[in-house]
């Protein structure tokens, strides 16, 4: 086992998103001896164990993986954001309509999209991207929707005027 082999294996274990078995590593490094790979992994395990740092190399599910030590999970939980959620295409479209046409009432949104949009508007409101501005003084007094401050923050905009205009969108998205 050479020092370089150990380093290569360390970098592989580092980038892998699941435990790596010696067999798997062998397939990536066909020139290496199987015994050398095992030896390198053992040595890495020892090094991280004696170092007693923030993470260790642990044998798990038939392979090896770097894992944080459980003592620090409290802090790690503070760091880890929940999985980012994406906005669905329909939600994004509805948001775009509200952003560009605000203040707007639901029936106008639905007129443009051609489909019922109540559920999507509710989701956008729950995510605090859209808010109710008031009621329109027409029969039925429908709610008027507009975007929120969080909307501007999400898209890194100073104010609504910074939204690219349709013409600018055209100019940028035309691939010619």
């Amino acid at each position: 086992m050479t020092e370089e082999l150990k380093n290569i294996i360390e970098s592989l274990l580092f980038v892998a998103d699941s435990p790596l078995s010696p067999d798997r590593i062998r397939k990536i490094l066909p020139h290496a001896e199987f015994s050398g790979i095992k030896q390198a992994i053992d040595q890495l395990c020892d090094e991280y164990e004696s170092r007693k740092g923030g993470f260790t190399l642990t044998e798990v599910a038939g392979g090896f993986q770097f894992r944080t030590r459980p003592e620090y999970s409290e802090w790690i939980k503070r760091l880890i954001q929940p999985h980012p959620t994406r906005l669905s295409k329909a939600a994004l479209e509805t948001l775009a309509i509200i952003a560009y046409r605000q203040p707007i009432i639901r029936s106008d949104i639905e007129h443009i999209r051609g489909v019922d949009s109540g559920g999507i508007i509710r989701t956008l409101m729950e995510r605090k991207l859209v808010r109710i501005l008031g009621r329109k003084e027409i029969p039925g007094r429908p709610l008027i929707y507009a975007t929120t401050k969080q909307f501007l923050e999400l898209f890194n905009l100073k104010d609504l005027k910074d939204l690219p205009t349709p013409r600018e969108i055209e100019a940028l998205t035309d691939t010619k």
Binding site: I80, T85, L87, G134, E137, F155, L160, T165, P166, I169
Partner: protein, 237 residues
């Protein structure tokens, strides 16, 4: 001439006039601070002719540069009078942007030479074991670009009468601000909905709203709403 044509390789189809000029300067091995403008201009124009003879559409940018070069060439031919000695070399007009462009090219090359993340250097892919539990705090992953695309898709399907001409609106926002200020100067405050009479056109609603936003930004307005669904009132500061 036919021999020359054979010499032109495919990568000699230049992306822009600057690329072509730099190619000509390098080919002739001349000093960028002392460009033989007549020679370079002639070769530039010859290239454009060749391109046109190949039925390749020329971008307007190439023609603008041709005009600039021809103009500089003509100025270089004029006799210099004593009182004009201090005047700038006409070639500066082209030398300066060329040097700026060359600097950018050199920087772009240096960037390309760097160790690229995801190509030479990698980080960990956070694995599921790290993400112990999902919190209910959501965060949304979306860029302005996606929003723009969404709007463009919608915009393309809109019938013309639904489209709002934004450039027109811009003009009228200032007018609307003046109108609102007049109301406020008279009354001191106004109810938000009163600024949106039901008979007004859709574009007028947008203009009024943008006017209000602009006034808030300029610190002309304070907006007050006592309960979440209550009346929104605008005060003149």
């Amino acid at each position: 001439m036919s021999n020359d044509i054979y010499k032109v390789k495919l990568d000699n189809i230049f992306e822009g006039p600057m690329d072509l000029l730099i190619h000509l300067i390098q080919k002739n091995k001349v000093d960028i601070y002392d460009i033989p403008i007549a020679l370079i201009t002639d070769q530039y124009l010859a290239y454009l002719e060749w391109i046109e003879s190949m039925n390749i559409d020329l971008a307007g940018d190439f023609l603008v540069m041709a005009a600039t070069l021809t103009y500089i060439k003509s100025r270089m031919l004029l006799p210099v009078h004593d009182d004009e000695k201090d005047e700038e070399d006409p070639r500066t007009e082209i030398t300066r942007p060329l040097i700026e462009y060359l600097q950018i090219k050199s920087v772009a090359e240096k960037l390309a030479d760097r160790k690229i993340f995801g190509e030479h250097i990698f980080a960990r892919t956070p694995c599921k074991a790290d993400l112990s539990e999902e919190s209910d705090k959501l965060y949304i992953h979306v860029g302005l670009f996606e929003l723009m695309e969404a709007f463009k898709n919608i915009f393309d399907t809109l019938s013309p009468e639904h489209r709002v001409d934004f450039s027109e609106d811009r003009m009228s926002i200032k007018d609307r601000i003046t109108e609102i200020i007049e109301i406020l100067e008279e009354k001191g405050s106004v109810i938000f909905c009163d600024l949106f009479p039901e008979e007004s056109a859709k574009s007028m609603l947008v203009v009024t709203f943008l006017a209000i936003l602009e006034m808030v930004r300029l610190n002309l307005l304070r907006i007050v709403q006592h309960t979440p669904t209550g009346v929104i009132r605008l005060f003149y500061i």
